[in-house]
Amino acid sequence: MIKLEKVEKIYQRGSERVRALKGIDLEIERGEFLSIVGPSGSGKTTLLHILGCLDTPTSGIVRLDGIDIETMPEKELVKIRREKIGYIFQQFYLIPGLTVYENVSLPLTFSRKERNRSEIENLIEMVGLKDRINHKPNQLSGGEMQRTAIARALVNNPEFILADEPTGNLDSENAEMIFELLKSLHNKGISIILITHNPDLAQRTERIIKLKDGIIESDQMV
């Protein structure tokens, strides 16, 4: 479970102070499938970074499974990212020189976890890329790249998947496929937190959190 209390985030950009989040109170239960929506600059990505332990708030409390993480040193945050969180990005960020298999197993290099080849192959099969396993990113379509990134996010068995506009660079057909994949992961018990601009996709999640100017405008179950 993730709990945020009065979370504020202030950036210093040159001489300008940017208040990206202005007091967020939020609870996310394990196994939820929720979307965060809002216009550009509303603080969606900042919120996702804090939920994903990539960033700490300027003030307020962030509690992950009962542990306060807002004052945690970077070393501990890295450990949480490895063990509990899987990230998916709009631009996929696959490593060009590596095959699908190698890209998917990359997080294991950092977590030092052992997984045998068949486990990774199963993951790749699950995202529908069995016959692409030895392909490099430049041989894949956008949808295939994002599916590779999803398999990569799953390789450490995370509790949460944080997806930052995962369908933003895809056509509707591929976007649909990715969304269905996320839904199937949710059905397996993984919490999915999705940032999207697409209101139709948001409507198909269980809960929609609407952000505006750094505060939660609405938080509704669908």
């Binding site: 990539l54 970077e74 990212r81 490593i95 290099t109 950092f110």
Partner: protein, 385 residues
């Protein structure tokens, strides 16, 4: 996937850039290795060559010790002479087993229109003075024969048995010295009495090579000789070696400095190349941080890339310099004074190991800054795009 494999694959993404960087490191490690092993081989070859001369010391007219050094190894024209009385006096000393006169000069060769370097020596002493020589044909047994150095022989287009003249004096070529790789190859060897006659320098010599019966008494003998015979200078083989070593040392220092500078330049090349890839991969590094890489992991990946580059370059450099050692040797011989005969560049595992460790060290040093920069990449800033 291990960090090493991952770093290796990263390097393969920019094949041309990595290759060019590698070439720099390869070349500079090859130069460094060759120079160090050459210097080592030089010392060893020199003392071996001096040991093999079979002489314990040289007696020359008082003068510059460097002249003597060059005379001992490869002949030099010194316009001062010792006369017969000196060798007579020395002959009276006990404990002397051999006195060999040497007369070095230049003679105009009218037929080929050039100046010959001529070395007058007691042909019967040849086996004692130059035991390492191989002679095709025979050693002259009278004043009518001569021996050609291999280089002279190749240039003249003559054969054994031909006549070789200086003015009215005619010699027969009885033998040819096989290639020694030293400056001995450029000389013509004439029986000393014949040469003295031709030059009207009967009884005059450039130097006397002396062998004693009991080498342990060397210091004692030298002291006695210097005290009792005026106008001479005695140079032991050790002094010759020191003299040559000091002559060669500036060349050594210069060449080593060049190698070190080349290495520094190529290390900067490695740093630059990897730093460029770090800047290009900022987003990728941010992604890796997001999916669980700590700062240490990123640091390790980048420094492994530079170490891989320099170690591969070091290995390639060692292989190339060992394969090409013959060429390198010929090249260095042209620029370095008094390089001893024989093969100087032999594989030396200690120097090879040192060069390899040094190339790893260069990898670490040149990787520190790029790795530091990469580890400082903020994941949030990076993945914002």
């Amino acid at each position: 996937m291990t960090t090493i494999l991952f770093s290796y694959k990263n390097l393969l993404r920019h094949k041309t850039r990595s290759f060019l960087t590698l070439v720099g490191i390869t070349a500079s490690i090859a130069v460094l290795y060759s120079i160090i092993s050459f210097n080592k081989g030089f010392e060893a070859g020199l003392s071996k060559e001096l040991e093999r001369t079979g002489l314990h010391f040289m007696i020359v007219p008082s003068g510059c010790p460097h002249e003597v050094a060059s005379l001992v190894l490869h002949g030099a024209v010194i316009p001062k002479y010792l006369d017969d009385t000196v060798s007579e006096k020395i002959r009276n000393f006990k404990d002397i087993s051999l006195i060999s006169p040497i007369l070095v000069t230049q003679l105009p060769n009218q037929i080929h229109n050039k100046i010959d370097l001529v070395y007058g020596m007691e042909m019967s002493h040849l086996k004692n003075i130059k035991p390492q020589w191989n002679i095709k044909g025979s050693i002259p047994d009278n004043d009518e024969g001569l021996i050609l150095g291999s280089e002279v022989f190749d240039h003249m287009k003559v054969k054994i048995g031909d006549t070789y003249s200086y003015g009215d004096k005619k010699f027969t070529i009885t033998g040819v010295l096989e290639k020694t790789g030293s400056q001995d190859d450029a000389f013509i060897y004439i029986p000393i009495t014949a040469l003295q006659k031709m030059l009207n320098k009967e009884g005059k010599v450039t130097a006397l090579g002396v062998k004693v019966l009991y080498p342990e008494k060397l210091t004692e003998i030298i002291e006695k000789l210097s005290n009792e015979i005026p106008g001479i200078q005695i140079v032991t083989m050790n002094q010759v070696m020191n003299s040559i070593s000091s002559l060669a040392s500036s060349a050594k220092i210069l060449s080593l400095s060049v190698a070190i500078i080349a290495l520094i330049i190529s290390a900067v090349g490695v740093m630059n190349s990897i730093l460029m890839t770090v800047f290009e991969r900022t987003q990728e590094i941010g992604m890796m941080r997001a999916i669980g890489a700590g700062r240490n992991d990123i640091f390790k990946i980048i420094i492994t890339e530079t170490i891989l580059l320099t170690t591969t370059g070091g290995l390639a450099g060692l292989i190339i310099s060992n394969i090409g050692s013959g060429l390198i040797e010929d090249f260095v011989r042209k620029f370095m004074p008094y390089v001893p005969a024989g093969k100087i560049l032999l594989f030396d595992y200690k120097i090879a190991l040192f060069s390899l460790i040094f190339s790893i060290f260069v990898g670490v040093v040149s990787g520190l800054y790029p790795a530091y920069r990469a580890s400082k990449v903020s994941p949030i800033e990076a993945i914002k795009g």
